[in-house]
Symmetry: C2
């Protein structure tokens, strides 16, 4: 037993660390049967609940697979999955130590088209709030935010000063987030977007379309257009 690295580690954490280290060293190839809870109980001299916790956490992390009646198996790791976090742009820019400012190009009430009404759970022609805001990082346009909001969720939306707070931030305050769908694609901007972002009509853009729902009521649909040359989504995966 060579697990005496961290003497003050909790017992469940010791078991977990031991298994994780051996998994990484390739002790159990993907799909191989790992020691049972009973064996680990004897090996570490702890109770079964403690071993169970270690294994359950490894299962949540995707490192092992457990089957009742069969045993615990080393996971295949046949996928690269990582947590993609879409944060509030203002926060993201500030955290880089840069300055953020927003230009509000449009903020008004409109009548919903059929397609939009569908997405926001309204009827065609119902009132919706529409804002068009360009966000700058160090005075360079970074994002064109074209957003429609369900007035029922945020009646005061149009009175907010969006040069001081972002729509994302305001909406999260007003309506706690309970569901979101997004899609990411590369495409050319519309003529208007190109002009607002100060880029060419045929420059590639990274476009995120996001729809959020709170308590089963659609809140907002947003189209976020970023100049491809200035925006990068990054991520990391580590078990």
């Amino acid at each position: 037993m060579v697990t005496a690295r961290q003497p003050n580690l909790a017992p469940y954490a010791k078991v977990k660390q031991y298994l994780k280290a051996r998994l990484q060293k390739g002790r159990w190839p993907p799909g191989a049967l790992m020691p049972s809870e009973a064996e680990l109980v004897v090996q570490f001299g702890v109770s079964r609940m403690t071993v169970n916790r270690a294994l359950k956490e490894l299962q949540v992390e995707g490192l092992v697979e457990r089957v009742q009646g069969l045993g615990t198996f080393a996971a295949q790791l046949h996928r690269v999955s990582s947590t993609l976090t879409i944060r509030d742009l203002h926060t993201e820019i500030e955290s880089r130590g840069h300055t953020h400012h927003a230009e509000v190009h449009l903020a008004r009430q409109e009548a919903a088209t059929a397609a939009l009404a569908e997405k926001l759970g309204l009827t065609k022609g119902a009132a919706v709030f529409h804002t068009l805001i360009v966000h700058h990082e160090n005075n360079v346009p970074l994002q064109c935010e074209d957003r429609y909001v369900n007035p029922a969720c945020a009646p005061d939306y149009l009175n907010v000063d969006f040069t001081k707070t972002t729509p994302t931030h305001y909406l999260l305050e007003v309506a706690p987030l309970w569901e979101a769908q997004y899609s990411i694609e590369a495409a050319a901007p519309t003529a208007r977007e190109a002009k607002l972002l100060g880029i060419g009509r045929h420059d590639a853009c990274l476009i995120i379309v996001r729809r959020t729902v709170s308590r089963n009521v659609p809140i907002t649909v947003a189209r976020l257009v970023h100049p491809g040359s200035r925006y990068l989504l990054e991520g990391q995966f580590k078990p």
Copy 2:
């Protein structure tokens, strides 16, 4: 107590469901103090370990925050984060019920440039494997895969028939995945990529650059170029 929806639900799951439902209804605004474990023990007539499990799982899901000595609080939900899974392209296409085939345009050994050697943990001029493969979905080019592989991790890489198995799949078999970094951006393809994908030189592409590491040894660096009009990354967030 109105939690008798699922009579056969395990006790810990009942507690969890109860709290989740009330959180969603806004019973506790973000940051509010929620019932303590002791209170829930009395309310549900279960042991503390059972309540603890329910709360711990809600914590892992990001719905509550717990502070030792203070209590359990409703989480802020001030972030949209979801698991972005990058799967093997072959599997992804097949799961859509479409056919996949690959054209191998290049598969040879080369000498590493300085930049490449850096990324693969080799010295400049060392041997690297280089493949250039175009993947088709229903005979339409979907991805141009430009990949460099560390020969130490996969000595037989160049002998694999990549019309039958994808490099991603083969490498995951040979070297279990332990770390990956990726970036996603929108940009124009190179002239060669445009030709291989059958698109215009100025059409927007979604480009994923991925670097994977196994057991602290870099395995491969890949540049995956997708025509923007034919590829979409989608995701969902739901607590």
